[in-house]
Symmetry: C2
Subunit: 210 residues, 2 copies
């Protein structure tokens, strides 16, 4: 049975789930969410799809899962793939939580404010603060990746899929891949995984809104 | 053997772990981190305790666990308590991730900026933006708690311990308990749990820095 992922191309959180589904070889289809027209924050979406008003949402046929970290867990429970060694499961979850709190949260927000919001609505005063927080997170990740091919253990895990997602997007948000040598090498490892795809090659873009 | 939690009173993330350890009846002691003097971001702490430069860190005697969501998982693996029903585990993780991304992240940051930073260093331009994000998150949680005693299932879980933590602190950060009737009722349920303690009754405060 085909899995359905409610998502849109620009959503790095959706990309984490889409990349996990793809690398695990699961049969899935995107269900496009017209995000920039407000669909995810609308009443119908909150009532019928996700009360949190967010993407991604995975419809497995028997349940509806939200939060990319939950969907990655479900993929591992279903396939045995991408979860890492049993002894590393706390370490994998540690980086997924850190990413949600400290990295993707800042990267996604800055990218949204800089690229997908009319300039006159942009909270200019918040930008240096957010950019400083992202730079600190990138520093933590780059230092961790010194001498490592993967964030945890010796193969790709949820930790990599969660932390990498926004870093593959072309729109500017304060990340310079060339300035972070360890992150650059690690992203190349991910791009070299059999079946790897760029987010815009898996999920339809929602920008600009129709 | 006594567990050791590297923490400080003002840290809501530490409180999630401290409250979980306490409610699960585990034998633990706080190890005070002189946060406002910069200890958690210092070289020694990053090298010897947590490269992420964050609290809490749980020293179990055999391993060192960081990220409150990881510590809560470990408590459940050790004791069987606070994890909720097996069928609800994705839903519990969903709210822990959401809290890390959308709620505690904003609440903790606003509270820090308003109360623990000299006014002249405060990024004033960022405040309305952060406050708007927190208000949206509080709205999602309050709506979810309508007609519910607990965030997931019919008893206290990681989801409650994660989401409640900053909401018990007295310092202003834009949360008005009386304005959120469902959150108010749910916080009273948590306060009524046998053994519940306020963060400042479990962990020494680090403010003001010595």
């Amino acid at each position: 049975m085909t899995l359905h992922l409610h998502c849109f191309g620009e959503s790095g959180h959706s990309y984490k789930a889409a990349l996990g589904l793809t690398l695990a070889g699961l049969d899935w289809q995107p269900v496009h969410v017209d995000f920039f027209a407000g669909e995810a924050r609308g009443e119908a979406f909150r009532r019928d799809v996700n009360a949190m008003g967010e993407c991604p949402v995975l419809d497995t046929g028997t349940e509806r899962l939200t939060q990319s970290g939950v969907i990655l867990h479900w993929i591992t429970d279903r396939t045995g793939l991408l979860g890492g060694a049993e002894r590393d499961r706390y370490e994998v979850l540690r980086w997924v939580l850190w990413d949600n709190h400290k990295m993707s949260s800042q990267a996604g927000m800055i990218r949204f404010l800089l690229n997908f919001l009319p300039a006159e609505k942009r909270p200019e005063g918040a930008m240096p603060f957010l950019e400083g927080r992202l730079a600190a997170a990138l520093g933590v990740l780059d230092a961790h990746l010194a001498g490592r091919d993967w964030i945890v253990g010796d193969g790709v895990t949820h930790a990599d899929l969660s932390c990498c997602s926004y870093l593959f997007y072309p729109e500017p948000f304060g990340f310079d891949r060339e300035a972070h040598a360890n992150i650059d090498r690690w992203l190349a490892n991910i791009e070299a995984l059999p079946g790897w795809k760029h987010p815009y090659d898996m999920m339809r873009r929602a920008w600009p809104a129709a």
